[in-house]
């Protein structure tokens, strides 16, 4: 009923929208595109894409496909603890492909569930940082003057706090503000806020620098003289030109956010150990580095590396593919 209303009127000069009778049209066009061509040409990127997709799907479908539910403490048997990979527990019939951890949890299942937490925190925190950083960076770079000074000074302050420190601060404040009985359920949001807030300034600085350069270019000056609204100039002319660096930093940022989460867990500030992220799992596993239970550390660490690596590779490729100057 509302599909008619929702269809935007084609803007003058843009190609006609895909005709409804050809549902494959959009796909067709995508497959024909330069971007897809460059994607196909890079086997590393193809592998990275599938790895990332695989890990994301695995995380999303964890409740359906995980052999155990590690978040349900009632289903655990402590005596299964430290069962080596690909063997059955000496105390129960449970069989563990990747072994069991110190609490008798199936490592494979904890990885599936842990990836969910890590990805969620990483995506949300990066999104937060990108939106905030780009908005402020564009505003600062385009306007200059006071606005620039204020925003950049705030960014300085922001950058003057190590990410870990900011997270600790936000945790401290959260502890003071959030009632004790909600702290655990809020922990993940505090984490997102902490990581997001600690990263926005990087985006702001980069975007601001690029914006300052772009602003001086003739086509922007031309648009300005033509009386185009500043917001429109920002969106249409400047934004596309700063997307490249933002994507590069953004991809690193996503991996960084996941790693930052791990580091915070290492310092004992993170999601509760009963609902672990990959970072928490690594922290737990790290305690068994010298004692021989390598699987508790190895599998979550490998998953984290694979995840961060594939995301980084994707970002690398995206940067090249999206930058019109490089084609």
């Amino acid at each position: 009923m509302s599909s008619q209303d929702m269809t935007p009127a084609p803007a003058p000069g843009t190609p006609a929208p895909v005709a409804p009778p050809r549902p494959t049209g959009r796909l067709r066009r995508m497959l024909d595109s330069d971007i897809f061509y460059s994607w196909k040409r890079s086997p590393v990127t193809v592998i990275a894409t599938f790895t990332a997709l695989f890990l994301i799907l695995m995380a999303l479908m964890a409740p359906l496909i995980a052999p155990h539910d590690p978040f349900n403490p009632a289903s655990l048997n402590l005596m299964d603890g430290f069962t080596p990979p690909a063997s059955a527990s000496a105390f129960s019939d449970n069989w563990f492909l990747m072994g069991a951890d110190n609490q008798g949890r199936d490592v494979l299942s904890t990885i599936m569930y842990g990836s969910r937490v890590s990805l969620f925190v990483g995506f949300m925190a990066t999104l937060f940082a990108v939106v905030m950083g780009m908005g402020l960076g564009l505003a600062a770079g385009y306007n200059g003057g006071m606005i620039d000074a204020v925003i950049m000074r705030v960014a300085d302050i922001q950058l003057s706090f190590p990410a870990i420190l900011i997270a600790l601060l936000i945790f401290g404040v959260a502890r003071g503000v959030i009632p004790a009985n909600q702290q655990e359920s809020m922990a993940i949001w505090v984490l997102i806020l902490a990581i997001g807030l600690s990263n926005w300034a990087q985006f702001a600085r980069t975007v601001r620098g690029a914006t300052m350069v772009e602003r001086e270019k003739d086509y922007v000056a031309a648009a300005r003289i033509m009386g185009v609204h500043p917001v429109l100039i920002l969106l249409r002319h400047i934004l596309p030109n700063v997307l490249g660096p933002v994507l590069v930093i953004g991809t690193i940022g996503l991996a960084l956010a996941i790693i930052e989460e791990a580091t915070l867990s290492f310092l004992g500030v993170g999601v509760p150990p009963t609902q672990p992220s990959l970072g928490t799992l690594i922290r737990i596993g790290q305690q068994y580095l010298f004692s021989g239970e390598w699987w508790i550390l190895f599998f979550p660490a490998m998953t984290l590396i694979l995840l961060a690596l594939s995301v980084n590779l994707l970002g690398d490729w995206l940067r090249d593919a999206l930058n019109p100057k490089l084609r």
Binding site: N72, P73, A74, S75, L76, L78, M79, G81, F82, N102, Q103, G104, R175, P179, A180, N181, Q183, E184, S185, G268, P272, P273, T274, Q286, Q287, Y288, L289, F290, S291, G292, E293
Partner: protein, 527 residues
Amino acid sequence: MKTVIAGLGAALLSTTMLVTSVSAETIRWARGSDALTLDPHSQNQGVTHNFAHHIYETLVDRDVEGTLQPRLALSWEIKADDPTVWVFKLREGVTFHDGAAFTAEDVVFSLDRARSEKSNMRQLHVDVDSVTAVDDLTVEVKMKGPSPLYVNNLTNTFMMDKTWSETNNVVEVQDYAAGEDNYAVRNTNGTGPYKLVSREVDVRSVMAVNDDHWAENKPAVTEIIYLPISDAATRVAALLSGEVDIVQDVPVQDIERLTGTDGIKVETGPENRVIYFGYKFGDAPLKTSNVTEGNPFNNPLVREAMELAVDRDAIKQVVMRGQSVPTGVANPPFVAGWTPELDAYPAVDLDRARELLAEAGYPDGFTVTLDTPNNRYVNDEAISQAVVGMLGRIGIQVTLASRPVAQHSPLVTSNETDFYLLGWGVPTFDSAYVFNDLVHTKDGSYGAYNGGLYSNPELDEKIRSLGTETDLAKRDATVAEIWQVVKEDRVLLPIHNQVLAYAMADRITLPVHPENQPLLTSVTFAD
């Protein structure tokens, strides 16, 4: 890129081996943290005392069995005609590191300093009325009332030189607020077996043997290099790579690996510290529970069900790697009042536990949050996590809230937690110390760590009577009565007594000390 750097590193370093040999008498001693201060009365904290015991000395201390033994005092007794006066006879011919003689005046000065307002040792001496020197080698301590166990409070109260303190303006314990540096924080003048040579806080302290020490047997260790290494993995790595000789705080999971490593051995022994869970008592609904009518923990059936659900043996075997002594009473075996009967604990019985819960009106269980520290006791967080799983099996859904002890401890003292883990050491080796802080109704100086606000007026009266009871047989009977009630009422849910593990190079032996206060004078070398 990594290989490039690794190769570079290899090229740079292949020249010599890192580990330089040290003389047999030097011991590099690694711990998880440093002493907080050198001022002996400024902090009542185990690591700080442990360090201080090498430089300063106390009137009495405990051997590795936990029995009191003479140190600067040769004898101690309650005055025959006045039960409120303790008489200490001092060791003769003791000198401080600067050569001054140790006399009764120094004891008077030190005890007065230790019980002064700014001292952190004050609580152990609150019952002291006055301290006087009778002659050069006799000191009398007048108590406010009969205090038959006061001598137990003296094992960490160190003796300073009066003249030295006056000369260096350290008569008072350092006042944080004054913002002044205090000479005693960084300089020492004790009577102990070692002299401080150098100190870099958190990094490295060096002590050399005191050749003028009174003890007949000179310690085998002539130089101590004290190295705080906070990260557990790094600490173990340092021992494995031969950079340190003794690691005092060994993670339980690494004991097996260390034992199996050539040239390294591990000494283990029980610590005088019990790990337990505490409940919130009272009728008010719990803050973190879905039960909004009444408090499930206040129901004895619920507490019994929970005790039956907790598998102490599994915790010992898996979480603690065998390095714990499961117990049914919140009182370590070292402490007077402990009995095997109290120590016994019930076998796990999940069916009975579920029955009890149903009987109590919670057939589907309930939810609650468990507060746990994560950096204070051995595997504290993992113990709590395991208990979350065990309670989950009888339908009690527990959320785990894990915090560093700096944030956990205030939750307990301010009664803000519904369910919490805590460890309790008993430096006086007497049950009254447990009762005063954990069982007595929260009131003034009593019940400071009774975070669950348990209150039993009958018990309170008995507990208070312990402080002044001079008939020791009668006192023991009262202690037994109190424990009986505490155990039957399930005031606390004890899990185990901690076990300490020290790892060291094969050629040396350092026995485990029950208060985790080993003296390196007790180190022996293999030939």
